[in-house]
C-alpha cells in the first residue's frame, strides 16, 4: 500500500508538471485554433530568466515570480505578432505550425548562447526534506507544483468567466467572426491569449525548475509530453488537461514500477494513439463538426 501511495503521489506530481504546460496549448487553441509549438521553449525561457533573477541578482523566489510572468507575456505576444498573425491574416492553414516551431528553435539557440547547454540546479524556495503523507514521501516542492498549477488554472478560468475582458476571450473562442462584428478586437484577443499561454508556461517553468534542473534542453521532452497530454485530455477542456496530465504521469510511474523502467514511456504514448484513433477530440473534448 505504501508503494502504491508513493507511485501515485510521484505520478501526480509528474502529471501536474505536464498538465500545467499543456494548459498553455489549450489557451491559444481556444481563441485562434492555433497552437504554440514553442510552448516547451517558453517554459525553458521562463525557468532560465527566473534562474538569472534568483542566482545573479540574488532575488527572492517569490519576488521573481511576477517578473517571470511579465517576461512570459512579452515573449508570448512576440510569438503571436511575428509568427502567428501573418499566418492567420493570409488564412494559411498551417503556416503557424512552421513559424511557431521555428521561433521555438530560435529561442532555444538564444538560450544556449546566453546560459550554455548545461543542466543547472535551481535553488528551491522550500526545504527539500520530504514529508510523510499517507505512507508516501512527498517533497514540499511537489505539493507547491500541484497547488500552484491548480491555482493558476483557476485564476485563468475565473478571468475568462467573470471579467469583461475574459468574456471577450470566450466570445472570440466561440465565434471569431461574430465576436468581431460585436466590436471585439479579436486580433488583440488572440495576441492576448498567446501572451497568457506563454505566461502560464513561464510560470510552470519556475514552478517545476527546482524539481527538474534547468537548461536550454528542458523544453523539448517536457513540451512533447505536454502536447500528448493536451491531445489525450482534449484541447477544448480545462478539466481534460488536468485529467490527461494525471493519467500520463501515473501511468508512466506505475509502468516503470510494475512492468519495466525500460518501457516507462510506452503505455502513455499507446494511450495517445488510441485516443487519436477513437476519440480524436480528446477524452473530454467536444467534437466539432467542420464543414468544408
Amino acid at each position: 500500500m505504501d508503494m502504491f501511495a508513493q507511485i501515485l503521489s510521484s505520478g501526480i506530481a509528474v502529471g501536474m508538471i505536464y498538465a500545467v504546460i499543456a494548459f498553455g496549448f489549450q489557451l491559444t487553441f481556444a481563441t485562434s485554433g492555433t497552437l504554440n509549438f514553442g510552448q516547451g521553449e517558453a517554459l525553458m525561457l521562463g525557468a532560465l530568466v527566473g534562474l538569472t533573477c534568483v542566482e545573479t541578482f540574488g532575488m527572492n523566489y517569490w519576488l521573481m515570480l511576477p517578473i517571470v510572468c511579465l517576461f512570459g507575456m512579452v515573449q508570448g505576444g512576440f510569438v503571436e505578432l511575428i509568427g502567428v498573425r501573418p499566418a492567420i491574416k493570409i488564412k494559411s492553414e498551417f503556416g503557424w505550425i512552421m513559424s511557431t516551431i521555428a521561433l521555438g528553435i530560435i529561442f532555444k539557440n538564444f538560450a544556449e548562447n546566453i546560459w550554455g547547454r548545461d543542466a543547472l540546479p535551481f535553488p528551491s524556495p522550500l526545504p527539500m526534506e520530504p514529508m510523510a503523507f499517507l505512507g508516501a514521501n512527498i517533497l514540499p516542492m511537489e505539493i507547491l507544483v500541484v497547488v500552484g498549477a491548480l491555482v493558476m488554472m483557476l485564476l485563468v478560468e475565473f478571468f475568462n468567466r467573470k471579467t469583461i475582458y475574459g468574456k471577450a476571450v470566450v466570445a472570440t473562442a466561440n465565434d471569431r467572426d461574430a465576436a468581431g462584428l460585436m466590436g471585439i478586437n479579436t486580433s488583440l484577443v488572440i495576441t492576448f491569449s498567446y501572451a497568457l499561454s506563454s505566461l502560464t508556461a513561464a510560470f510552470a517553468g519556475v514552478l517545476i525548475a527546482p524539481l527538474t534542473l534547468t537548461g536550454a534542453a528542458m523544453g523539448g521532452a517536457l513540451g512533447l509530453k505536454a502536447f500528448a497530454v493536451a491531445i489525450i485530455g482534449g484541447l477544448s477542456s480545462g478539466m481534460g488537461i488536468i485529467v490527461g496530465g494525471l493519467i500520463l504521469g501515473i501511468v508512466e510511474t506505475a509502468t516503470g514500477f510494475y512492468i519495466s523502467t525500460g518501457y516507462k514511456d510506452v503505455p502513455g504514448l499507446i494511450l495517445l494513439l488510441l485516443v487519436l484513433m477513437y476519440k480524436p477530440s480528446g477524452l473530454f473534448g467536444k467534437s466539432a463538426i467542420k464543414k468544408v
Binding site: 507511485i7 534542453a217 510511474t253 516503470g256
Partner: protein, 394 residues
C-alpha cells in the same frame, strides 16, 4: 646543368631535413563543450590547451608548433561523425584527441581507422572503444583513460568485497555508455557470484526516478551501483533522499562530475567512484603544478576543476601524442602509430609517468593499479582510502 639549380636544390633539401622549415602540427580536439557532458568536455579541452601551450612555449615538437582544431560534438553521435570527416578531409589533422561519450567515439573513430590517423581517447571509457576493429591489421585507436572493464571490477570489489553488500541494484542510463557499463558491471559481479536484485534503466532528461528507486528498494537492495552521467545521477541521489531511503551509491567515475556534485548537494555525500586523478591533495609535485596552472589559466568556479579527471587525461594525451611524433620524426599516421606502440622514453604526465604505455596488442595506457577510489565529500572529491593520498608521492 646550371649551378644555380644545384644550390637551390641543396638548400631546399637542407631546409626540409633539418626542420628549419617549420610546419604546424594540427591536432583535432573533439568533445561535448555544451550539454549534459560539458563539464567533462570543457575540462578535457582546457587540459589539452594547457599542454599544447606548454609544448609550444618550449619550442614545439621537433620545432613545429601544435595547433588545435576544436570541435563541439554536443555528445551526439551524428555530430561526431560529421566532425570526424571534417577534421580528416578539410583540416587534415595528424591525430585527434578527445571523445567523452562512448557512443560518439564508437560512431566516429572508424573514419580515423580508415584514414590511418591515430585517435587518442582521453575520457570515454567504454570497454569496446580500443577493441572496435579486432580484424584490422593495425588499430589506430588508443586510450589514456580508465576503461570500464577496469572500473566495473573496482566498483564490484568496493561494494561486495570491501563493504560486504551483496544485494546490489544497478541503475544505468539507456545510452551506449550506461548499457555497455551495465554489462561490464554484471560481468564483474559474477566473479563474486552476485546477481543484481534489480537492474533499472532511465532516459537522459528523466525528471523522476521514483519508480526505479522503488523497484530497487522493494527488491531489498542495500547498495546502488550506477552507470550514468551527472544530471541523472543527481536525480537518483535526490530521489533517494525524497524516499527517505539512504543507501550507498557506488558507480563509474562520472560520479565526480560537477553536474552531479553541485546538483545533488548534500545528498551526493558518500558517493564513491574510481578515479585516475583527484584535484587535492596533490600527490606529486607535477600534479600540483598542473592544478595551479589550470586554476590560473581558466579560473573555474570555486577553484574546483569541473572534471579534474578529464582535465588531467586531456593534458596527458597531448604529451603522449607529442612524444610519439617526436620519436617518429614524422606526422604520418602509420609512423605515429608505430611510435606510440613503442615509446622509447617515458612520458611524465600528471596521472602518472607513462613507461611504455602502449604495445601492438594493448592500446590502454591506464591499468587497474593506476586507478584509486574517490569519494564525494561536501562538494568535492576526496581520496576514499587515506593511503592512496600519500602512496603516490615520489
Amino acid at each position: 646543368m646550371n649551378i644555380r639549380h644545384h644550390i637551390f636544390a641543396v638548400a631546399a633539401i637542407a631546409m626540409l631535413s633539418t626542420g628549419a622549415y617549420a610546419a604546424d602540427i594540427k591536432f583535432g580536439v573533439a568533445g561535448p563543450f555544451t550539454g549534459g557532458s560539458a563539464s567533462m568536455g570543457v575540462s578535457m579541452r582546457d587540459g589539452v590547451r594547457l599542454a599544447a601551450k606548454e609544448i609550444n612555449a618550449a619550442g614545439g615538437v621537433n620545432g613545429n608548433k601544435i595547433v588545435l582544431v576544436e570541435r563541439d560534438d554536443e555528445a551526439k553521435n551524428e555530430r561526431g561523425v560529421q566532425i570526424a570527416q571534417e577534421l580528416i578531409n578539410n583540416e587534415k589533422v595528424v591525430a585527434t584527441l578527445g571523445y567523452i561519450n562512448t557512443g560518439v567515439a564508437l560512431a566516429s573513430q572508424r573514419f580515423y581507422q580508415e584514414a590511418k590517423i591515430p585517435v587518442m581517447n582521453n575520457v570515454a571509457t567504454g570497454t569496446l572503444i580500443t577493441k572496435q576493429f579486432p580484424n584490422a591489421a593495425e588499430n589506430y585507436v588508443f586510450r589514456n583513460g580508465a576503461a570500464d572493464n577496469i572500473q566495473a571490477p573496482m566498483i564490484a570489489k568496493e561494494a561486495v568485497e570491501k563493504r560486504g553488500l551483496k544485494r546490489v541494484a544497478i541503475l544505468a542510463d539507456s545510452t551506449n555508455y550506461g548499457q555497455l557499463g551495465r554489462e561490464d558491471l554484471e560481468k564483474a559481479l559474477k566473479v563474486y557470484g552476485v546477481t543484481p536484485v534489480a537492474t533499472e534503466k532511465f532516459n537522459l532528461g528523466d525528471v523522476d526516478m521514483t519508480s526505479q528507486l522503488l523497484k530497487a528498494k522493494n527488491a531489498g537492495a542495500d547498495v546502488i551501483l550506477t552507470y550514468a552521467i551527472g544530471p541523472e545521477l543527481a536525480q537518483i541521489a535526490n530521489g533517494m533522499a525524497k524516499l527517505g531511503w539512504k543507501k550507498p551509491m557506488i558507480g563509474s567515475w562520472t560520479l565526480s562530475m560537477a553536474s552531479f556534485i553541485d546538483t545533488a548537494g548534500k545528498n551526493g555525500n558518500g558517493a564513491t567512484m574510481p578515479e585516475t586523478f583527484i584535484q587535492s591533495p596533490a600527490t606529486t609535485p607535477k600534479r600540483k603544478v598542473f592544478v595551479d596552472n589550470y586554476l590560473k589559466e581558466f579560473k573555474p568556479k570555486n577553484g574546483i576543476i569541473p572534471s579534474p579527471v578529464s582535465a588531467a587525461q586531456g593534458y596527458d594525451s597531448v604529451y603522449l601524442l607529442a612524444a610519439a611524433i617526436k620519436q617518429a620524426n614524422s606526422t604520418e599516421g602509420p609512423k605515429i602509430l608505430a611510435a606510440l606502440q613503442d615509446l622509447k622514453t617515458p612520458v611524465d604526465g600528471v596521472v602518472m609517468t607513462y613507461n611504455k604505455p602502449f604495445s601492438a596488442t594493448d592500446h590502454e595506457a591506464i591499468k587497474a593499479k593506476d586507478v584509486v577510489m574517490g569519494v564525494v565529500e561536501n562538494g568535492r572529491v576526496e581520496f576514499l582510502n587515506a593511503e592512496d593520498a600519500t602512496a603516490k608521492k615520489k
